[in-house]
């Protein structure tokens, strides 16, 4: 018998006391723990699967290893702390809440004036109040807003001459300073001697020393997502897909910071950097992109992503309201119990009891509506870099990735002598970031004594549907494959769902005009007035609780029609289709599914990314001299692993799709509720609704073996 069988505490992760579903899940875990102990009393099962060792190719050259892991959960800003005024300083106006990064160097000059010398500060105004934040580059004025301000040293991107000068290990005269502001809510005005700019929600502004402020749009470029999808769809015909374009591009960007010449040009082109960000100067051949602007946009995005997990004032209010209503409901429950215990006397007070029950129902209804608005989703994006301890990395590059990608300091690793030990250390980090979902980011043998650097991005998401599917309605239903065959799958459904956006399109991508009202006879016909033709398709968008993230599902009318949609799947088309979507009652059918994918061939010399247009980074001509020049570096392998689980309650990491026909009704002119069925191959994506960032993207061609 397991001598620790009585110590379930150790095997459990206790939830927060206010986390209602977390507490229920804790109960389920306790129950399963106890049942497992019961079985342990009798059985011993020690068979283990053999370790899977992949045949990794060994190369003689030093390599840059890039990995991206994609997963589910919430971002905690662990590097941040509440900004109590350092002793001897003025006290900040209590109407402002200040959170400071651990390395921030700042002073509170007056109750409404702060000086920031280095690092990042996040200010949230609890009530309208004025605040001025001075940095060496600019003065920022805010009133009643929520914003992030940072001031950092950065490379000037203007090396005097030649490559060697650009990779000096000690920054001196080529260093400039950048102030950047990212606005979450309200407006912030940045002013310098050269001019001023006002930034609104989800906008970022940068100010370089001695220059006018410049606005940067915080917007994810989704073209990379769909280019990669197209490539993978071609490389893996007939396979289900799941990957995180955001995660892959994030890891690539960190490498791009150290790329030079042709290598940098290709990476930028593949990642879809706009032409407007091409540099025009003497050294633009060496440093082809305005990385300063690109990284500000990316940093803004990362903060927006991680902000999705932070509690906003509105959410805090909702949670407080929920706690009040929950307490009220519990009190009413108690009153009813006491009432019922009174026995015969209760008969005389039947009217009172009736009122109490009614009142309780009203409170319960309010509580349910309130809970749908509370954001329970978890989203965490984390970057980390491990560098070989004996390799002299360029200090500029280290400073840039540390400050701009939230990668923390570049951690020293002993790849030369202990590559496998380091591999396990990195895998542990990835596993923790992904809440245990991705355990073996780097497979055995994938790091070796020639490895100089490992760049890892991890993303974890878990969200509850704003309106969940009812478990009791899920049942085995046929899923028609592209070939016309059908397989059984657990199909969830929500009828007359109003928290859904819907649109249908003709085969050429034009919007189909879905009727609002129809004649009864139309419902009995072949549906041609209700849905587009066989070559058409439909889309739904279902929000997660909190409304910040959503899943978009695209399904063809004809089960064989997915390839035709795939050819039209571009960032521009998606944006146009999304604009056409309307919130309306929709019947939604979609399968539960779970899949784990591994794309280990992304970064091979003849792999996916090379084929997309960046072969140089993987070959002999690779130039990552911005990272360091002691040895020539190239990307040895890029590993990407992703996981998704979709069920009635929500999604852990990725998505769903569908379309269909048929509706019921009996009257002459009746409202029409379109039906969206994902009981055929479909595309899914999980996106940030503000920036449009595609966090996860994939397709389900055949749900067999994906049972959730």
């Amino acid at each position: 018998m397991n001598n620790k069988s009585g110590m379930a505490n150790e095997r459990m992760i206790a939830p927060e006391t206010g986390d209602e579903e977390g507490l229920r899940e804790y109960g389920r875990q306790l129950a399963m723990d106890s049942l497992m102990v019961e079985v342990v009393l009798e059985a011993k099962d020690s068979d283990r699967p053999a370790n899977i060792v992949l045949p990794w190719k060994r190369r003689w050259r030093p390599r840059v290893w890039i990995s991206a892991a994609a997963l589910v959960a919430l971002a905690g800003l662990s590097l941040w702390k509440l900004g109590n005024s350092p002793s001897g300083q003025a006290k900040l106006d209590p109407r402002w809440k200040l959170v400071a990064a651990s390395d921030a160097d700042y002073r509170i000059l007056e109750r409404n004036r702060v000086e920031l010398r280095k690092g990042e500060l996040r200010f949230t105004s609890l009530q309208p109040a004025l605040l001025v934040v001075d940095t060496p580059n600019a003065s920022s004025t805010a009133r009643g807003t929520d914003f992030l301000i940072g001031h950092h040293l950065a490379d000037s991107q203007r090396p005097p001459t030649g490559q060697q000068a650009s990779i000096a290990t000690t920054p001196t005269t080529n260093t400039t300073s950048i102030t950047r502001v990212l606005v979450f809510e309200g407006n912030v005005i940045l002013a310098t001697d050269q001019g001023s700019v006002a930034a609104g929600p989800d906008e970022a502004v940068i100010v370089q020393a001695g220059e006018a402020p410049q606005k940067i749009v915080v917007e994810e470029n989704t073209s990379f997502a769909f280019d990669l999808y197209a490539r993978l769809a071609k490389e893996k015909p007939g396979e289900n897909l799941c990957f995180s374009p955001y995660s892959i591009s994030n890891a690539l960007l960190m490498a791009a910071e150290g790329a030079r010449g042709q290598t940098a040009r290709e990476i930028g082109t593949v990642l879809g950097f706009p032409d407007a960000l091409r540099r025009v100067s003497d050294d633009s051949q060496l440093v082809p992109w305005e990385m300063g602007k690109i990284r500000v946009g990316q940093l803004g995005l990362k903060h927006l992503m991680n902000k999705r997990g932070a509690i906003t004032l509105d959410q805090a209010k909702l949670q407080a309201e929920e706690a009040t209503l929950s307490a009220k409901l519990a009190e009413m429950d108690n009153k009813l119990v006491l009432f019922d215990q009174k026995g015969p006397q209760q008969q005389k007070e039947g009217g009172k009891r009736f009122d109490l029950v009614n009142e309780k129902d009203e409170v319960a209804e309010k509580l349910e509506a309130l809970r749908a608005r509370i954001d329970t989703s978890k989203l965490r994006v984390a970057n980390a870099i491990w560098g070989e301890q004996t390799f002299p990395f360029n200090e500029d590059w280290k400073a840039t990735v540390t400050a701009s990608y939230g990668a923390g300091a570049v951690q020293l690793a002993d790849f030369a002598a202990n590559a496998d030990k380091e591999r396990l250390r990195i895998n542990r980090w990835a596993e923790e970031q992904t809440e245990g979902v991705i355990a073996d980011a780097f497979p055995e043998g994938s790091l070796n004594s020639m490895t100089r650097l490992a760049i890892v991005n991890a993303i974890y998401f878990k969200g509850d549907w704003k309106t969940p599917f009812e478990k009791s309605k899920t049942s085995p239903q046929p899923f028609t494959l592209g070939t016309g065959e059908s397989v059984q799958t657990a199909l969830m459904n929500k009828l007359d769902e109003s928290d859904v956006k819907y649109a249908a399109f003709h085969g050429d991508g034009r919007l189909f005009s879905t009727p609002e009202m129809v004649d009864e006879s139309e419902l009995e016909g072949d549906g041609e007035t209700l849905y587009p033709g066989k070559d058409g398709f439909s889309m739904i968008e279902m929000p997660y609780r909190g409304d910040k993230l959503s899943m978009v599902v695209i399904a063809p009318n004809d089960p064989a029609g997915l390839p035709s949609i795939e050819t039209r799947l571009t960032a521009g088309n998606l944006a146009a289709w999304m604009k056409s979507m309307k919130q309306r009652e929709t019947n939604v059918f979609m399968p539960k599914f779970k899949m784990q994918t591994s794309y280990d061939e992304l970064g091979e010399a003849d792999g996916t990314l090379a084929a997309m247009g960046m072969p140089t980074a993987f070959g002999d001509g690779a130039d990552f001299s911005g990272m360091g020049s002691k040895e020539q570096l190239s990307i040895g392998t890029a590993v990407h692993k992703a996981f998704i689980s979709v069920d009635e309650e929500g999604t852990e990491a990725a998505a769903i799709t569908g379309y269909a026909m048929r509706a019921e009704a009996m009257r002459a002119k009746i409202p029409f509720t379109p039906t969206f069925r994902a009981d055929r191959p479909f595309i899914y994506l999980i996106r940030d609704r503000t920036s449009g960032t595609v966090l996860f993207l994939g397709r389900v061609l055949n749900p067999s073996g994906l049972a959730n």
Binding site: S5, T17, L23, G27, M32, S34, P49, E431
Partner: protein, 177 residues
Amino acid sequence: MTDAFNILAAEYRPMVLAYVRAMVKDAHLAEDLTQETMIAAHESLGGFEPGGNFGRWLRGIARNKALMHWRSEKRNPLLIDSRVVEGIDEVFDGFDRSPEESDWWESRKLALRDCVALLSGHLKAAVDRVYFGGSSLDESALALQSTPAAVGQRLCRARTQIRECMGRKLQLSNDHE
């Protein structure tokens, strides 16, 4: 009546013990409270409605015993949280005996063992170490070259998968009956 009760009590006792252990997280205390539960059930057998769910009735008594215990101890408020109890009940209700089913508790354990065998490599390794090997999280983390927190997360994920797998198995066997 007593003989019939004894037969039933013997059949349901392991389930009640597992249920109470989930609530109190202490093997010895669970034994004591299970004993008290069975005595209380015997004494109030008249309160059980024929045709009702005997397992659920027993768990109701066991639940009260556990809650009374925690109230008297005035500690561990999390365990008496109604939502935690709801979660525990949800699992045990899901694994209840179906009418006419014999050896039902044995079949639950068999299903659990089958589902453990179906776990993916790293989850199964954690379960094997901690549950079947009797190792602590620290020891397991060392052996699995992981961290205690990561092993804890694997266990959590494994338990969820086992529960879902058992649910599917039981649904399947019910459909066949």
